[in-house]
Symmetry: D3
Subunit: 245 residues, 6 copies
Amino acid sequence: MDIQSATWTEVRDAETNLAMVPIGSTEQHGPHAALGTDTLNAETVAETAADRLDDPVAVSPAVSVGVAEEHRQFSGTLWTSESTFRSYVRDIVESLAFHGFDRVVLVNGHGGNVAALREVAGTITRHDDAYAVPFTWFEAVGEDAPPMGHGGALETSLLQHANPDAVREDRLDDAAAEGTRRWGNWKGKVNLAFDSAEFTENGVVGDPREASADLGEDLLDAASEALVDLLETVAEHDTERPPRK
Amino acid sequence: MDIQSATWTEVRDAETNLAMVPIGSTEQHGPHAALGTDTLNAETVAETAADRLDDPVAVSPAVSVGVAEEHRQFSGTLWTSESTFRSYVRDIVESLAFHGFDRVVLVNGHGGNVAALREVAGTITRHDDAYAVPFTWFEAVGEDAPPMGHGGALETSLLQHANPDAVREDRLDDAAAEGTRRWGNWKGKVNLAFDSAEFTENGVVGDPREASADLGEDLLDAASEALVDLLETVAEHDTERPPRK
Amino acid sequence: MDIQSATWTEVRDAETNLAMVPIGSTEQHGPHAALGTDTLNAETVAETAADRLDDPVAVSPAVSVGVAEEHRQFSGTLWTSESTFRSYVRDIVESLAFHGFDRVVLVNGHGGNVAALREVAGTITRHDDAYAVPFTWFEAVGEDAPPMGHGGALETSLLQHANPDAVREDRLDDAAAEGTRRWGNWKGKVNLAFDSAEFTENGVVGDPREASADLGEDLLDAASEALVDLLETVAEHDTERPPRK
Amino acid sequence: MDIQSATWTEVRDAETNLAMVPIGSTEQHGPHAALGTDTLNAETVAETAADRLDDPVAVSPAVSVGVAEEHRQFSGTLWTSESTFRSYVRDIVESLAFHGFDRVVLVNGHGGNVAALREVAGTITRHDDAYAVPFTWFEAVGEDAPPMGHGGALETSLLQHANPDAVREDRLDDAAAEGTRRWGNWKGKVNLAFDSAEFTENGVVGDPREASADLGEDLLDAASEALVDLLETVAEHDTERPPRK
Amino acid sequence: MDIQSATWTEVRDAETNLAMVPIGSTEQHGPHAALGTDTLNAETVAETAADRLDDPVAVSPAVSVGVAEEHRQFSGTLWTSESTFRSYVRDIVESLAFHGFDRVVLVNGHGGNVAALREVAGTITRHDDAYAVPFTWFEAVGEDAPPMGHGGALETSLLQHANPDAVREDRLDDAAAEGTRRWGNWKGKVNLAFDSAEFTENGVVGDPREASADLGEDLLDAASEALVDLLETVAEHDTERPPRK
Amino acid sequence: MDIQSATWTEVRDAETNLAMVPIGSTEQHGPHAALGTDTLNAETVAETAADRLDDPVAVSPAVSVGVAEEHRQFSGTLWTSESTFRSYVRDIVESLAFHGFDRVVLVNGHGGNVAALREVAGTITRHDDAYAVPFTWFEAVGEDAPPMGHGGALETSLLQHANPDAVREDRLDDAAAEGTRRWGNWKGKVNLAFDSAEFTENGVVGDPREASADLGEDLLDAASEALVDLLETVAEHDTERPPRK
């Protein structure tokens, strides 16, 4: 159930305590993919899982500006501080819980949000009236999928399948040619870079030429199945905090 | 230029310092109108004005959860604290300004956001690197329009014109019958109520039976023209703070 | 009962749960009216209403620095951030409520405080142990009163009646001559200005030559009667939050 | 120059960079002295010093609610959190400095404010555009004065001299009889108490029977002279931060 | 019981509700004493008292960076804002209380921490689930001890006794020669200085040549006995907040 | 150069802009390893690297309470909120940078700190006057090392080598027997647990019976070499933020 499209009476009548909050970002994804890539992909996965799940699940509007300051040197990238981001997500989850949707999956489309979401999910679960857990779709596409990158094969494929207008097909070669192959600037296990412009000329990491709508369909299938499994697990999960030792 | 749909290279190439941030809310709008009404209407007005403006203007994704705690007794209403809301809007405007879009109109669709937006626009204009000003579409539809209400003729008409799926036509009579005619619970000029459930049974204020798609088209015309005028004015406005007396 | 003038034993013995917090500002009011105009006027109205009310009501000391950054270009204007202002008012109301004065009217003398007071009253009423509501005296003087302005006929008249030393009578002509007639710099319904120095040379909006002590007496009568009515209503008001729909 | 009583044009014409902020508290002072004692006394000392100083000095309105939670068990005591208190004082000093009054003495009448004022003065001096220093009047009355206490001889005397209405003369015996003689509940040098109700029945510490208007006059003389000396020193003080070693 | 050295099972088995948090600073102490002086001394006193106390007491790791911005002009001085410092201490005490150690003595070695610790102890005692009280060792060494100073006889002696490596004996003469004898830059009772570099050339206040390991032993004896007395008192103290008057 | 052990004059004379901040935690590490394990190990690695580095490097005192609320059900675990933790680390780094040590490696011993440290390092690098980067020692011990776990072979070995008193050798069998083998409670790639007590009986993850002092020596060798390499790299690193695209 998409909350934005429903009326309050329809939400009132929905019998579920499950909710999803799609969480994206507005940030550069190379010369070929739209700035809204992460939001579009998070929405796609959340909607597909909502459709496939037997039980109803409330889906909030997407959070479309997230933790993306690392891409600020690229035009159009929007961001909020991590602190504001966590507060915004926490407030949304608390209002979902106020209506009884107190088991919430944060459906995430952006690597830069992962740590902040894990932190805020912990704060919510330990201190508020809800249980929340983040799910990042591209972590759930299986071992055989291409590497994640940024604006690479994974993200581009899902766009090609579900939001083809968001891909400039004629720029894929350029995107690949001037992109880089690995995220970050590493010394051992330490990433020395704090801005993606330190290691990629055009914002791309990976090879979007390997993308295809067919691959996108497979990825969506894998991610949404994993999300359905997670939702079913969360619905039954014992969310009581454990006793002290 | 819709930032989410554009690539960073396209945003880079846009020659403008104007931007709009559509700002809505996810909150009850009676049994007949979608919870996303305010966001949909803000987006409609912003997009129409962007189309009509001769010059390019960057349009950020909408802020779809706002200041709506007053509607919390109605299922599905989502809200953030005023403080978080201001921080979220401020961060978005600051990142727009980082890219040179430093004259920003906050295109608002929700009465409950008005005070918070005026405050944050003042903070931005006086202390950050941008000039920001809020525009609330239903304040700009002229003297002859029906009264604003909540889920009433104005909002419903604009939905019927631009997002007809968001209206449950078969519930308009019920919506009107159980709604109220005036916002608030007043003693003189003071509103004693802090929750809309104190004065409306079904969330409606006004009479949505007076709504029509034709009226919606007229409203959109008026509001988007006013917004175009505002954008043209803001583009030329002297945004220097005045000298001390 | 003026809390500052009373001893704690006298406050302990007062049988009421009503309180008022006078809230003003220290800000320019033209060349003819004192910077403390808003505080003086708020105190005058609160004290008069306290005298007229049959039942006792606790009156806290005035908050004399408020939301006034918009007047900063004029010497002597003092201000606090909106956030600090709200915290300061909230803390005062919470300590009043701690002693059982948990129905509180915020008696306000400054337009710039209105939005912040409504927000903090909502926060207090929804989340703390008190019910609070703002009352702005010049909104309660009836339809026939002159327009509000700033340092205009309304504010000057009340000073002339209750605090004549705060008016420089010999500067009224100058005040009017160099003042302006309308608050703000408007494009349609949008105020483009964030500093009053953008639209008034000497800080005046309105015509203080139309002021008189007699008019001030009438205004005080109207405002204090409205405030007495409000206090009586608040004393009986059902302050429970409404049930969920 | 009392800022509240002056017009902005008069403040503009004042040739000084000195300012004072009187800072009090609204808190129990025994059964015999008004809750506003600390504010009244701070104002008295500041006004007297302003009169005696050869040069002009801007005097802001008093901060009349301060750090007084330790007196909360006594009716009528108002307080703000230390954090809000510091923000409120800092904002006032920053707005004074905005107008050029950037050497500011915080004239304090309440022991509970001392630590918070020293902290905020340090923050202002090191990080803002002003130099600020706190002055607590009863620390400046000389070695021969009675001990400070709370509602004792010192505070009561100054009220008797400058604000006799604030003293209930007929309750002095009771005040002394049920009061205590020493502030706090001590184990060695550590005060175990965090609420004054832990060690005083009626809120009094000291013996207000030893108070007199004559003593009050002497105390005012001593404190205001010390404050004049301080203002003259601050006017000439090198407020540059020292170089690094 | 030193928490850091114990396992969680050992802490679980300890039968006590008493805890200590040693609190120091990393700041200049003249050319002869280590920057860690305050932390080392606080740890010494806390450990000695823990040994001497008949009952067990949990000792947390030391907070080694505190309120020391006043020494910033001297190399190596580290500091945190007062606000962060209070939050850090409060969080530690709250986690101690979570495990049942809800009577906590903050064992302090630095004058600059005193006010912040008193404030946070009040906040904890009034609003959290613990009773906390600060103890500053050099306030508890008796009337006959040398004056406190900074890097003077007191602090140096305790180092010489318990941490002799932290003293450069060959620089004591220089330390005394270029040091000063009184803390601060005073006008009457007001300290005009906010940086120690305003009144001491080398950071020393007092005369470290008067220090000795023997004196250090005596000081430790006095301070740790006073702390043992305090712990025994706190263990029995009625920590209920008093009833309202 | 250990800042705590040095005098300010010695720090002043050190010719380097490199610093390290050891960052640990006080949290359960099973029945066999001390609660201070993470702090001890972080200090060991930082000190060893400081010794091996040809150039001097300033080493601050360790932050010994970190992000550890997930272990709160186990006695003795201390924690601070993530927000306070970041502020505390940021303040320390800012004061290091104030003295010219503006290339800072945060030497971390606790997995729960990793995300918060990456966030605060980004904030510092982008917005303050320093470059900061986190280094987590157990990520740098090579492919052949045992898996990390918690209180497992890695951490126990380093303790056995450098702080043997922190290990209770006679409880290793019990520690292994009642411990678990994998961190978390997983559904696909999502960890459903927010408290370690949800998946480990005695706090152990991994097998501490595989630990040895010899292995600890090898681990220390690997980690400290990696840290020396990182320090040398950071010393030469171009810390300018990249230009906008």
